[in-house]
């Protein structure tokens, strides 16, 4: 302490300028080395080998048959009752008077009727929904025991042997993609049919889709179908303001869709 007090003010000033110079220079240098990157899409693939899966959904192609939702239930032992879905279809009807009607009766499994007059409709479309397999998933973030996780190939999975059933992940998912399995008492969600894609089969919902409205693919593969899909279309992710790093890219997504 005493030594510092004995220093001349001149010396102090010189030291200050020197330090300040170092700090400013440092900031300029680091920002030149690592410029701020703006991400084109919500999620940038991490370094690594092997596939890193993402999904593309073409809203224009969806005809609302509900095959995806029903096949998903069959493939993954999802309970039949209309409260449990890994995958479903919503119908948006935007009326001429700007009223928005959203419907998903039984997740779309039984098909959709049109119950308003054609003339009153401004536009109408189907939105297939499933887990967004977010790269920065809120559900993975909040799981207290590590029972849900982002696999190295970019699929958000659940360890049903380890899940305690606290339902915090259900609260954290902004897209409503999770539910508690009434018999297993653990959380259940879309796995992108992990057991199928590792065997080279497409996920059940994509296998049975009559129009190919849903595709999945490796985001690291710059020549792959999914990359072409994102390149060709103006794609959006759901609720981008929440910064979940969603890897489900929609073509033709209206801003009314939430």
């Amino acid at each position: 302490m005493a030594i510092i007090n004995n220093k001349s003010p001149e010396k102090d000033r010189r030291k200050f300028i020197k330090t300040a110079g170092f700090i400013t220079g440092g900031i300029v240098l680091t920002s030149a080395l690592k410029p701020f990157k703006i991400m084109v899409f919500a999620a940038k693939e991490p370094e690594g080998e092997g596939p890193w899966y993402g999904i593309g959904i073409d809203i224009e192609k969806c005809i609302g048959c509900g095959n995806c939702a029903s096949s998903c239930k069959q493939e993954n032992d999802v309970p039949e009752e209309p409260f449990y879905f890994r995958s479903w279809v919503e119908k948006y009807t935007i009326m001429e008077n700007e009223e928005v009607i959203v419907q998903a009766p039984n997740g779309g499994i039984d098909g959709f009727d049109q119950d308003v007059e054609n003339e009153d409709i401004m536009k109408s479309f189907f939105v297939p929904k499933m887990c967004n397999h977010c790269h920065k998933s809120p559900c993975v973030q909040v799981c207290p025991v590590g029972a849900t996780f982002d696999s190295p190939d970019g699929v958000v999975l659940v360890d049903q042997e380890y899940c305690i059933g606290c339902r915090y992940c259900i609260q954290a998912c902004p897209y409503g993609c999770r539910y508690i399995h009434p018999e297993k008492k653990v959380v259940d969600k879309c796995t992108l049919c992990y057991h199928r894609i590792v065997k080279g089969l497409p996920p059940a919902c994509m296998d049975v889709c009559p129009t190919g409205a849903r595709i999945f693919g490796d985001l690291r593969d710059k020549k792959g179908d999914l990359h072409k899909f994102i390149k060709k279309h103006n794609c959006h992710v759901l609720k981008s303001h929440l910064n979940t790093g969603s890897k489900l890219y929609y073509n033709g997504l209206n801003q009314e869709v939430r």
């Binding site: 609302g64 048959c65 493939e75 590590g146 996780f149 999975l157 659940v158 059940a204 889709c209």
Partner: protein, 147 residues
């Protein structure tokens, strides 16, 4: 150091020690190998059986129908889209869980008029008016529609 602190330190040491021992035995195998999760869970997820088995498996016995379908407008639609998963049927031919749907409601799920459906991807008819009361498959063979 007063006796209280010494005694409490012993108690805390026992509690923490017990916790560490329990933790050692309770942490499941493969936990934390890749991230904060049980790495074996990935293999367990992957090991589940696929129920929709794909067109190739249908071809083995029903090649003629698959060929017929591939020539028509329903060419891109997989067999199991309408017939349901082939999993059990492939294990035993006797299995009766293969669906043979027909009827106006079923076909209408894709083909009934609906503003939300794009004409570019599906032909739509007015299901209320078009040949009232008749089953669609009476006139249209779903394996070769429009023939």
């Amino acid at each position: 150091m007063p006796l209280q602190i010494k005694r409490l330190l012993i108690v805390f040491a026992i509690v923490i020690g017990l916790f560490l021992v329990l933790r050692h035995f309770l942490i499941p195998e493969s936990f934390g190998e890749e991230g904060h999760y049980r790495f074996l869970a990935i293999a367990e997820n992957a090991a589940l059986e696929a129920k929709y088995q794909g067109e190739e498996s249908c071809k083995e016995c029903h090649n003629d129908i698959v060929e017929l379908k591939l020539e028509g407008l329903h060419d891109v639609i997989s067999c199991e889209s309408c017939h349901g998963p082939a999993h059990l049927h492939n294990i035993s031919e006797e299995s009766e869980d293969i669906l043979k749907p027909g009827g106006r409601d079923f076909c209408g799920k894709c083909h009934s008029l609906n503003t939300a459906r794009s004409d570019d991807y599906v032909l739509q008819i007015d299901i209320e008016e078009h040949n009232k009361g008749k089953n669609c498959v009476k006139c249209h063979n779903p394996h070769e529609p429009w023939q």
